[in-house]
């Protein structure tokens, strides 16, 4: 073991240490709020280590198992921020399970560690183990409430997740069988020099790519691997739903970009082939997500389908990365910027839903009527996030969409962008329906909807993010571009 490389893992190690401290403190401390504080402190310490490493040169550590580069650091920072907001937003929710708050926070932190490792993993083996680490923690968190719906959510997530893992392993086995290597750069070396002219000449590579895409597709919930989303999102505790829809999805996109771009990015026909594969999946994903979202009456299910649609937009970025054949970084940084804006927007929407639903004890859109009068600030925040999800000014969603679609048009994916724009119009219908119900409907009761300071703090952070990314996107774009520059393009 190379001990001197351990300091490059400080973000993960410190967070893991804090997770263990949370479990141990849970035994002694009566005041459970302290545990949330310790968890947040752990996330801040880890974020500090991540920031400190931003300028460091790119290297592979532990025999090329993990890559320490800006791409990974960018995602680590995003994941830490998401986990922090989730823990803040869980404050009102955790009172439902008094005795197991320590385990709840610890599992959130451990799954964050798993996802951070996943975004940095540069070897098929470490990718798989990190994926399972984040997966196992999330299965448990999804069924944390132990009521009927939550248990169903956890079981469905576990079973489908296990199938997805098996499919992914089969894909990895095929790639390994063909190349004899597990590290991504070594695979790239072998694939680049293969004496074949197309995927059809090499069914093992074709099947390997399809199975890898299917296995990771489960993580980002693209069609046809989206079946678990509505049930799991509805049944899981709402903070965990938000966590799944943002952090888990971001980590999934990070690992897809790394595997496909690094290991399968050359020769150029191969890159274009998987670019087209993602383009087709992207078109189907966003259309299905948006069309089915229209008929939903439960806001968690609606946001579930909306997150499927958003995954479709994000995959426009993936397709661009493939079709552009690594020539320029615009497509990839568009993907990163979209993920950033999607993270703050979707978290904001879910946190507002947590605040409202927890008090009115219902997830039905119909029960949100008149919320503009009962809880004006929450309604304003939710409206802002929904507007950003549509992609209207002055929010992050608009800039993100322009950015990602512009890159796609640049690389000849005009048809896909047209599909995406039509889809954005469809999505306006169901997002604005919620806005209409909140502001124009008559309130059921005059009772106010109070919320804790932690919820309000996390919600205002998200709204601030939505506005900042929308009004002054320049510096964030610079960050996203710096993050992808490491892939020697």
């Amino acid at each position: 073991m190379i001990v001197s490389e351990l300091h490059l893992m400080t973000p993960e190690l410190s967070l893991l240490g804090f997770a263990l401290v949370v479990i141990l403190l849970d035994l002694f401390i009566k005041q459970k709020k302290v545990l949330a504080g310790v968890s947040i402190a752990g996330l801040i310490v880890s974020a500090g280590f991540t920031l400190a490493m931003w300028g460091a040169p790119t290297i592979d550590i532990f025999y090329a198992m993990l890559a320490v580069d800006r791409f990974a650091l960018f995602f680590k920072f995003l994941l830490l921020a998401a986990a922090g907001l989730i823990i803040l937003a869980s404050q009102d929710y955790v009172s439902k399970f008094e005795r197991f708050q320590g385990e709840y926070y610890a599992l959130v932190l451990i799954s964050a560690v798993g996802m951070m490792l996943l975004t940095a993993a540069a070897d098929l083996i470490s990718i798989y183990v990190a994926l399972e680490l984040s997966g196992i923690s999330l299965y448990v968190l999804a069924s944390f409430l132990k009521d009927q719906k939550s248990t169903e959510a956890g079981l469905k997530y576990l079973l489908l997740g296990a199938v997805a893992s098996a499919v992914l392993l089969y894909g990895m086995a095929l790639v390994f069988g063909l190349t004899g290597k597990t590290c991504l750069l070594c695979i790239a070396d072998v694939v680049e020099t293969m004496p074949i002219a197309g995927l059809l000449d090499n069914p093992a590579l074709l099947l390997g790519i399809i199975l890898l895409a299917a296995g990771f597709g489960f993580k980002i919930a693209c069609v046809p691997f989206q079946m678990w989303v509505p049930d799991v999102y509805e049944g899981a505790p709402t903070p965990i739903t938000a966590y799944l829809s943002v952090a888990s999805k971001a980590a999934g996109f990070a690992v897809i970009v790394r595997v496909f771009f690094v290991a399968l990015g050359a020769p150029s026909w191969l890159s274009i082939d998987w670019g087209i594969l993602f383009a087709i999946l992207s078109a189907i994903t966003m259309t299905l997500g948006n069309v089915v979202a229209i008929v939903q009456t439960n806001i968690k299910r609606m946001l579930g389908y909306s997150s499927i649609a958003q995954a479709g937009y994000l995959m426009v970025g993936l397709a661009t990365v493939g079709v552009a054949v690594g020539a320029d970084a615009l497509g990839r940084s568009g993907l990163l910027f979209f993920l950033m804006s999607y993270a703050v927007t979707n978290l904001g929407a879910f946190i507002a839903v947590i605040a409202i639903s927890n008090k009115i004890d219902s997830d039905l859109i119909g029960d949100y009527t008149g919320m503009g009068k009962r809880a004006p600030l929450l309604a304003v925040a939710l409206t802002l996030c929904l507007v950003s999800l549509i992609g209207l000014p002055p929010t992050a969603g608009l800039i993100a969409k322009i950015y990602i679609f512009n890159a796609a048009v640049h690389h000849g994916l005009l048809w896909l962008v047209i599909v995406a724009v039509i889809n954005s119009c469809i999505s306006a219908y169901y997002y604005l329906r919620v806005v209409k119900v909140m502001w124009l409907g008559a309130p059921v009761s005059e009772e106010k909807v109070p919320s804790s300071w932690a919820l309000r703090a996390s919600l205002s952070l998200c709204c601030l993010g939505v506005l900042l990314l929308g009004v002054i996107p320049g510096s964030f774009v610079g960050m996203a571009e710096a993050a992808v520059r490491i892939f020697g393009s």
């Binding site: 025999y63 799954s111 680490l133 196992i136 923690s137 132990k146 093992a204």
Partner: protein, 161 residues
């Protein structure tokens, strides 16, 4: 010699797998699954993977099968067997398609065949591969954290409501 042993084992494995799927009685299906695990261990031995074969017997035949059987014993109304689903025909079609695709892939690809003779025993090589220089030490450590998460999860899930 190995060829004959392999084909016998392969035929028995496929037969046992089919029995697992087609038997109505869940308990008999479970026993067939245990048998299936055994024959897979046999295939590992023909491939000179002695350590893997032992692990297969210890974990799958030893632990997992007990788990399955205990789970069946704790299940109510188990005598009704597995209900027949409406998706039987589509599942069959998809399954056959997948089988055809995988077989076509396995047959038509030119796999690299290593000319290095198999190692005996494999345990030293596996140990060096996991913990030695250039090895998979980090995934082993991550797996340790994974087990911690699994234990935490088990504690949370078996609690009284």
């Amino acid at each position: 010699m190995f060829d004959i042993v392999f084909w016998i084992l392969a035929a028995v494995t496929v037969g046992a797998a089919l029995a697992v799927v087609f038997l109505r009685d869940v308990f008999r299906a479970a026993l067939c699954l245990v048998f299936l695990f055994f024959t897979i261990a046999g295939i590992y031995i023909t491939l000179h993977a002695d350590f893997l074969a032992v692990v297969q017997v210890l974990i799958y035949v030893g632990a997992i099968s007990i788990l399955i059987i205990v789970a069946i014993m704790l299940t109510r109304e188990v005598w009704r067997g597995s209900p027949s689903g409406r998706l039987r025909i589509p599942a069959l079609v998809v399954g056959l398609l997948l089988l055809g695709m995988l077989m076509f892939t396995a047959m038509s690809t030119k796999w690299h065949i290593s000319d290095v003779p198999p190692q005996e025993p494999t345990t030293t090589a596996i140990g060096a591969g996991l913990f030695g220089d250039g090895g998979f030490l980090l995934p082993v450590e991550i797996a340790a954290v994974l087990l911690l998460a699994a234990v935490l999860g088990a504690i949370v899930l078996i609690r009284e409501k």
